[in-house]
Symmetry: C2
Subunit: 309 residues, 2 copies
């Protein structure tokens, strides 16, 4: 698999599983001036506005303004520096007196990622998914008591029943369905848009990836799928999906749209799609396709030109 | 992808996403005599002892003995019959006066699956993961208040903050690492065993499948991996994993065992592995390999004989 690394998949930090289990090591690193913290205010990330856009890291002084109940979340090490994520929601404006660069501001994570290096987008995805999960898991799903972060944020442990809880990652099947010279794209109901993308859905309980692909395409578009081929995968931290990208061969062609999920589903011919993707001057104006940040873009490109895939 | 369907991946029910959102349809089906319920007592499944071993379904009378707080969990339909999972923990012995076959008993799910048809093992995986998740999610992780099942068990909704919670599926990368004529297998610390299997680990936040393969092999065995090739995937309902099977090419060979995770890791040559897998008379007695129920078995087989893979 020599496919280029996707946006959000390039985190270069050593996650250092052995170190994160050592609470005294974590505590020592939290106190060290060279430790770096990536802060989030209501899931917006502190970023240098640039150009170039970059993640904006601050030192341990920022621990004084962390959100109520928030724990520093160990991300990993690089060149013997320890990196952490930290939720400062509610205290975001105090970042400027706690070491932030004058060119930094809390920015939307997705917009920021589109301008970051792949490596930095990976660290952002890692930190954002963790910060978000911890912010919404202060209590035990098993007994309702309070939980606390342990092992650098790799677990939360319940103060009541002692249950261990782990950050979740939700596998999503995303598939470009194709049939001869046409591919199947859908338009979301969630917003008014000209954007058509690959169909997608969460992998269900007791289901393989291939099973999820066939079920979702049948549910959303009424199309039967035969062969399914895995292409590549991408973490998508909104909040914590793992996009599992596939190419899927249709064995029927008559579309029945699931109007609960989608506003429209259509077959599009290869040449129309290629022109829009390449922003050709004579490209169809009524069609927009996902940008390079999304795995759907790369699935479409792999179908258009399999050799360059 | 013409690979045979794995154990636990063959659920033939139509999950009928549109129907499960219709509470009145669900209620009507719960009352109908032809609706079928697969019951679990402390996660053991009611099964016909056979031969042949089979899932043992009962009618709606069983609703009178459901576990405190348990909801019937809609699995899907087949030939206009509705199928549900139901937790009867604590009341299991009352199943025999509530419609169970005299040849049925609550059995370990994994042992049972090894003797079921692939289709029935898939339904078992689906039901068991759902029953288990609901049993451990009676409270809201966000605020600590009680939650209740909705949409046939597809969601739990919080009575306090209104948060929606969805059953989780945990993606796991499982990889047969190979280098020339040898493959890398590890032995668990968790029990005294001769069983060596493929290395595996949960996909972490902000990580692709390929990234997880490389990180886990490095952490657990100190081996660097180059090309990663997806093979197939298998739901593994203990409690709710999605095993994502890959073949991974090693680009280093010196093993450093992570003794926190594994008792031993070794390179094994193809002929040794083939003989054990095929139960040859002259197979090595000090080595056991995973059985056909596990995706690891099929990854090893795919490496031994790529064409038959």
């Amino acid at each position: 698999m020599t496919y280029p690394v996707h946006v959000f998949a390039g985190d270069p930090l050593d996650r250092a599983d052995a170190l994160r289990r050592d609470e005294s090591w974590i505590q020592a690193r939290l106190a060290r001036e060279d430790s770096r913290f990536l802060t989030f205010d209501e899931l917006k990330v502190l970023a240098e506005r640039g150009p170039p856009t970059a993640l904006s890291w601050v030192g341990p002084a920022v621990l004084s303004i962390k959100a109520p109940g928030a724990a520093p979340l160990f991300l990993g090490t690089r060149d013997d520096t320890a990196y952490f994520g930290l939720d400062v929601s509610g205290n975001g404006e105090r970042i400027y007196t706690n070491g932030a660069s004058p060119h930094a501001a809390f920015e939307d994570a997705r917009n920021t990622a589109a301008h970051l290096s792949i490596a930095q987008s990976g660290t952002l995805a890692h930190a954002k998914s963790l910060v978000d999960w911890h912010a919404r898991h202060g209590f035990c799903a098993n007994c309702g008591a309070r939980t606390a972060a342990h092992f650098g944020g790799k677990e939360r442990i319940c103060s009541g029943c002692g249950a261990h809880h782990y950050p979740r990652t939700d596998p999503v099947a995303i598939m470009l369905v194709h049939h001869g010279d046409r591919c199947l794209l859908g338009r979301s109901r969630r917003r008014v848009t000209k954007l058509y993308s690959a169909l997608a859905g969460f992998v269900d309980q007791g289901e393989s990836i291939e099973g999820a692909v066939r079920r979702e395409v049948w549910e959303e578009a009424g199309i039967r799928v035969g062969a399914v081929r895995y292409h590549s995968s991408q973490p998508w931290p909104f909040p914590a999906s793992l996009m599992i990208g596939c190419l899927a061969e249709a064995i029927s062609t008559e579309i029945v749209v699931d109007e609960h999920e989608l506003a429209d589903v259509q077959w599009f011919d290869r040449e129309t799609v290629r022109k829009v993707l390449d922003k050709a001057p004579d490209a169809a104006r009524e069609l927009e396709l996902p940008g390079r940040i999304a795995i759907a873009h790369h699935l479409i490109r792999a179908w258009i030109a399999p050799m360059a895939g």
